[in-house]
Amino acid sequence: MLRYLARRAGGLVVVMLLVAVIVFIIARVVPGDPAAVMLGSSATPADVAALRAQLGLDQPLPVQFLLYLRQIASFDLGNSLFLNRPVLQALGERAQLTTLLTLMSAGIAVLIGVPVGVISAVKRGSVIDQAATAVSMLGASLPSFWVGLTLIEYLAVRHAWFPVAGWGDPGDGLLAHLHHLVLPAVALGLPNSALIIRFTRTSMLDVLQDDYVRTARAKGVRPLGVVVHHAFRNAMIPVLTVIGLTVATLIGGAIVTETVFGLPGVGNLIVSAVLRRDYPVIQGTLLVISGIYVLINLAVDLLYAAVDPRVRF
């Protein structure tokens, strides 16, 4: 197990290094100039050039790259060109929101996806199954921003049950923050539950036809016991992979959802940074998100062992 973890940690370092190089290149290859954006459209080229020099953007790219690598090596992601603070601090300020949003969305996706998938498989061919299939197909086709705008219109504007946007007022507690996250989490979680429904259903159908399930039924185990103790646990292995991938997808989906709901999360930070060409923020944020992706994959691999005793590292 430890050897396995050490091997994966080594792989993580290599992946992160590659990501660092790729992100730096992409950020600089895309045209656009943070100094021009910062100064506004009235600025002349001379004003822009002066600010570029002040920000160190006039230095040759290899020099900028070496400085960037040196920063990363000391776990420093640099300073935002716009936000007047270190990238790590900016990320930290937004991490709570995005983490909560991702967890709530994942919770909604799993709480809907797994039970509906199981029932759909057990009641294969029934009206419930067909309805679940239709709803999941529809859910998979709905973009989260559209779901978000529709939820805002009906639940926030017309009924004022939830806030339209934002993260609450200064001094708000966790409860009020969570209240602001309900609609975004539903907008993000609902379309993603469709994939989990499909995978759970398929996986359960496979397992329900296995010999050991037939044996359990023949032994007289109650139908609920067969599903819960024999079929469900084994069916969960491929579903776990999908849930892991869904969580990773939710982080990406948060970019759009946070923009629609005006949430000051990591997704919004990335969008703003790209529009402003805030290179340190683009680089630092993508680096951290890539690291989280890799860690989620590792966690999912480790969970296999917990779910299936045959899996050993």
Binding site: V37, T44, A46, E93, I152, A176, V260, S272
Partner: protein, 518 residues
Amino acid sequence: MVEFAGRISRRGFGAGLAGMAALTAAGGVRRAQAADNAIVIATIGEPGPLDPTIVTSDLVSIITQHIFETLYTFDGGWQVRPLLADGMPQISADSKLYTIKLRSGVHFHDGSAMTADDVVASLQRWLNLSPRGKQVAPYVEQIGADGALGLTIQLKSPYAPLLALLSMSNGAAAIIPKAMTQSTAALTTYVGTGPYRFAEYKPDQYIRLTRFDGYSSPVGQPDGYAGERRALIEELRFVPVPNPSTRVDGILSGEYQFADSLPAEMLPRLRGKPTVSPITVKPFGFPLMIFNSKAGPLANPVLRQAAQAALSCGDMLAAAFGDPSFFEVEGSIYAKGTPFYDEASVTAYNLNDAGRAGTLLKQAGYAKQPIRIMTSQQYDFLYKMSLVAQQNLQDAGFEVDLQVLDWATLLQRRGDEKAWDAFFTYHTFVPEPSLITILNPAYPGWWDTAEKHAVMDAFNGETNPARRVEDWKKLQGLFFQQAPAIKVGEFYNLAARSARVTGYTTTPWPFFWNVRLG
């Protein structure tokens, strides 16, 4: 097993509903509390550094005009009026020496009293760092303190736009404590003399300004930005909401008390709602198609005139804004009702004459070189009008290469004279013509002819208001004759305020002093 699943599902559903109800109740209480003492203003996005001197963006000035003040400001008729200055300046007979008296008893937000030393240092910073200050700097001989509450500005030659430039709230000659003027970097602490003081900045979340109890207001009836300023609301909270439909939803739900820059097509959603008052901001701005007068095919003025003849500005505006109440087919650079409006000098506007354009193309010897037009979908109205322009130009015989870029790329590329032939942008209304970017020879487009120089110098040197208007007419005539750009027309901004907000004055840069929350 269905029974089991159903039990879990119902229990989970019930718990979920209870949780959401608790959250709804908790949030509702909080929102109601916040709305009693604060006004929430939904803006188009994150402003970045809140330095009104270095940055010229409208968003920054909308926020910072509550914190920082200038020596002068504009009244409702866009005439210069005193703000931190005690009355209008004494100007010498040769128009080169300005003697300015400062109001006494003005304090900065840090508690220190404003003196002439602070003002001199602030103006020096403005001359060195502000794009507008740099425009003035070549004319300034010296700025000096004259006692604790007096200063003099000695010019090398008369420069009529000086007071207007000192009155602007973006690229502003903001007065700050002398100690803060030493660095050339953008401000990171925000200490001014305005009716609101900076309290907190959470990027992408909010900027909080709170009432400055030590504020010393100018006297007189409020008129535009001039006159008495009273901070009647305890806290202003500027919230970045980049998605325009979310801004509309927020004002409709009562979450925001003011929402800026709303899409014109959303007006029907705001009309007839008792809790919301839509606002149409007139004048607001004008879209521009700027030609590259320095390099490439359009450096030939006859080709620019051909493009001018080909374009249908009316169609471009209709495509961009739809609802006619949000635009006007108007060629005069200044709209009707403003001091510099002039119809007679608008000689070539909205012609849409492919025949005339074709003749001019032949005269210019146009050899079908592609005309590279840069536009951006980040400003939807610019993109839509660029599509119409493309069609107009192709109909007249131009070869057009329409390049759709993101705004940051366009801003970068326009600095390279070899990268483009035309680009679309827009200009917010400015009360002083010399502030119009295309008149600056260093601005991309680089309109820099001898005739323009001569007329511009005369205009800038003329201090008599009536004669200035006459000079402006000559400059506008030259604009249409040499065609450095196309002024597409006038467009108006849609904003909205809560019906609870009273005392609001409609301006291009919304301000919230003298505003009450009912």
